[in-house]
Amino acid sequence: MKDTDKVAHRLALLEGLSLSPDDLEAIATEIEDLERVVAELEEFSQGTPWIALQLQPADKKI
């Protein structure tokens, strides 16, 4: 998928929200950054089979 298509695909997730040109530009820039960041994390995240679960069991005693 082209980069422009990727951004358009993500913007479609905003459920038809009406955005100003400034907002649209800022959000598109952020989304491009997001794509890069996720790609950076992809390999690193393979180093563990688990996801972080920060919630503690309610009966935990310390």
Partner: protein, 487 residues
């Protein structure tokens, strides 16, 4: 007969100038109030007068509660006169970030959306403060719903740093930090999702402490990100932090992250002993740190060494990935939390906050889980690290409080790359739920405070507080005050 009307019960207010009362730390103020040598009413009036004098400059408070605070102070004085002393916070003026619901008091989250909202119930924090007899002066300013690190993203305008009014206070709990730094009460409560307690504490030259995830209930506070939100505290001394923590820590079934504690008594267990304490330093993350900050940090390490602690060079390369998962988790979870408001009130949010929510809305489930796997990998690395050290020390921020004119770039410490950028050190404690403290460790050549960060392993809150207490017992940085605190 009303006890307060009898000679034996009569209040014997010390003759103290208001400025001297305001300078008192919580422990001393509490002792005087308990001994009825100083009335809560006098202490609260002094704090309200300072607040009224400074709030136009600092914009630290969104809502001030003078009538209610004075009425509560009068009630506290009467209770104490009758021998019904509740806790070290009884009669003590405190403030809370406008993230906490307070029955009958508007609770805005710094947002236009809730600018006139008045909840009917108290947050757990407020319940506990009321039970402890604390006097709530008002609700402090913040980045909208906690989304930011500058306290400039508020519908009610930016918070100004009391050390230099043209600089940011840091965020998102900037109003709380500015209030305590300018001696408007000895204690304030804030929240932290990324660095919202430690960063403003560092920029404002006071102590900021965020306990282990689950120690303080978040029930009744606005959520920024479910898995990273914490309640934290601001004070001018570590002992005051411990007293403030004792009052509000404890299990609450209404917060699914809450943990049971048999005896949350941090203040009574506070001791200035660090002999043999293993203090880890992540030197690879110090490149790029401002020279004055680095110098102050190196001096702080010498203090710990002089007190008998053992310095340990640590290398945890996984932390170089910390900032990104922290920010992406916040973005995705806050979008989930605000999904309905996003659709109905998009244009009512502060613009930068609404754009952040929009980006969060586009994060897919699989991306979120990738981030959570990365986060867990960092957690595993820290679990291993805390087998070899007791605390990890670092500068809290890489530089002092930036100028307001720098805008959002003034945040200064955020990175969007895996790197050895110091901002990772600011981000990992909240992302992983570790107890973290920032305390003053120097003043730069421009007269601005520098923060030292101490982070402990999970539930090693007492270890962190003891190390911070030991440092403060050997240094006097925490006694420095901005000019605004001397008005």
């Amino acid at each position: 007969m009303d006890c307060a009307a009898t000679p034996a019960c009569r209040q014997k207010d010390l003759i103290m100038a208001p400025a001297d009362i305001l300078e008192l730390n919580l422990a001393d103020l509490s002792r005087l109030i308990a001994a009825r040598e100083l009335s809560s009413s006098v202490a609260v009036r002094a704090a309200l007068t300072r607040l009224e004098l400074l709030n136009d400059k600092l914009n630290a408070f969104i809502t001030v509660l003078p009538e209610q605070a004075l009425a509560d102070a009068k009630k506290a004085d009467e209770e104490i006169a009758r021998g019904h002393y509740r806790s070290p916070l009884h009669g003590v003026p405190v403030s809370i970030k406008d993230m906490f619901e307070m029955a009958g008091v508007r609770t805005t989250g710094g947002s236009r959306i809730l600018a006139a909202w008045v909840p009917e119930t108290d947050a757990a924090l407020v319940e506990r403060l009321r039970a402890a007899g604390a006097i709530i002066l008002g609700k402090t300013n913040l980045d909208e719903f906690g989304h930011g690190g500058t306290s400039t993203l508020s519908h009610f305008g930016p918070v100004h740093n009391p050390w230099h009014l043209e600089r940011i206070a840091g965020g998102s709990s900037g109003g709380s930090a500015a209030a305590v730094a300018s001696c408007i009460g000895p204690l304030s409560y804030g929240t932290e999702t990324g660095s919202s307690v430690r960063r403003p504490a560092s920029y404002c030259g006071i102590v900021g402490f965020k306990p282990t995830f689950g120690i303080i209930s978040r029930h009744g506070s606005f959520r920024g990100a479910w898995s990273q939100d914490h309640v934290g505290l601001f004070a001018r001394s570590v002992k005051d932090i411990a007293l403030g923590l004792d009052a509000v820590a404890g299990f609450d079934l209404r917060d699914p992250a809450s943990v049971r504690q048999e005896n949350p008594a941090y203040a009574s267990r506070l001791e200035a002993k660090v002999r043999g304490l293993r203090v880890g330093v992540l030197r690879r993350f110090l490149e790029g740190v401002d020279p004055a900050v680095r110098h102050a940090f190196d001096d702080a390490l010498k203090v710990f060494a002089g007190l008998g602690s053992d310095g340990v060079d640590l290398d945890v390369p996984e932390i170089s990935y910390a900032a990104v998962p922290s920010m992406m988790t916040s973005a995705a979870e806050s979008a989930g939390i605000n999904r309905r408001w996003f659709r109905e009130h998009y244009h009512d949010f502060v613009p930068h906050v609404s754009r952040g929510l929009a980006v969060g809305m586009t994060i897919t489930a699989s991306e979120y889980l990738t981030v959570q796997r990365a986060r867990h990998r960092i957690r595993q690395a820290l679990q291993a690290a805390f087998k070899t050290v007791d605390i990890i020390a670092s500068p809290t921020t890489s530089r002092v409080a930036p100028l307001l004119s720098e805008g959002l770039k003034g945040n200064g410490d955020d990175t969007r790359h895996a790197s050895y950028n110091q901002s990772n050190l600011l981000r990992y404690p909240s992302m992983l739920g570790l107890p973290g403290c920032s305390l003053p460790c120097g003043i730069n050549p421009e007269g601005l405070p520098i923060g030292l960060q101490l982070v402990g392993g999970w539930f090693a809150d007492q270890t962190v507080l003891n190390a911070a207490f030991a440092y403060q017992s050997s240094t006097d940085w925490h006694t420095r005050r901005p000019a605004q605190a001397k008005t």
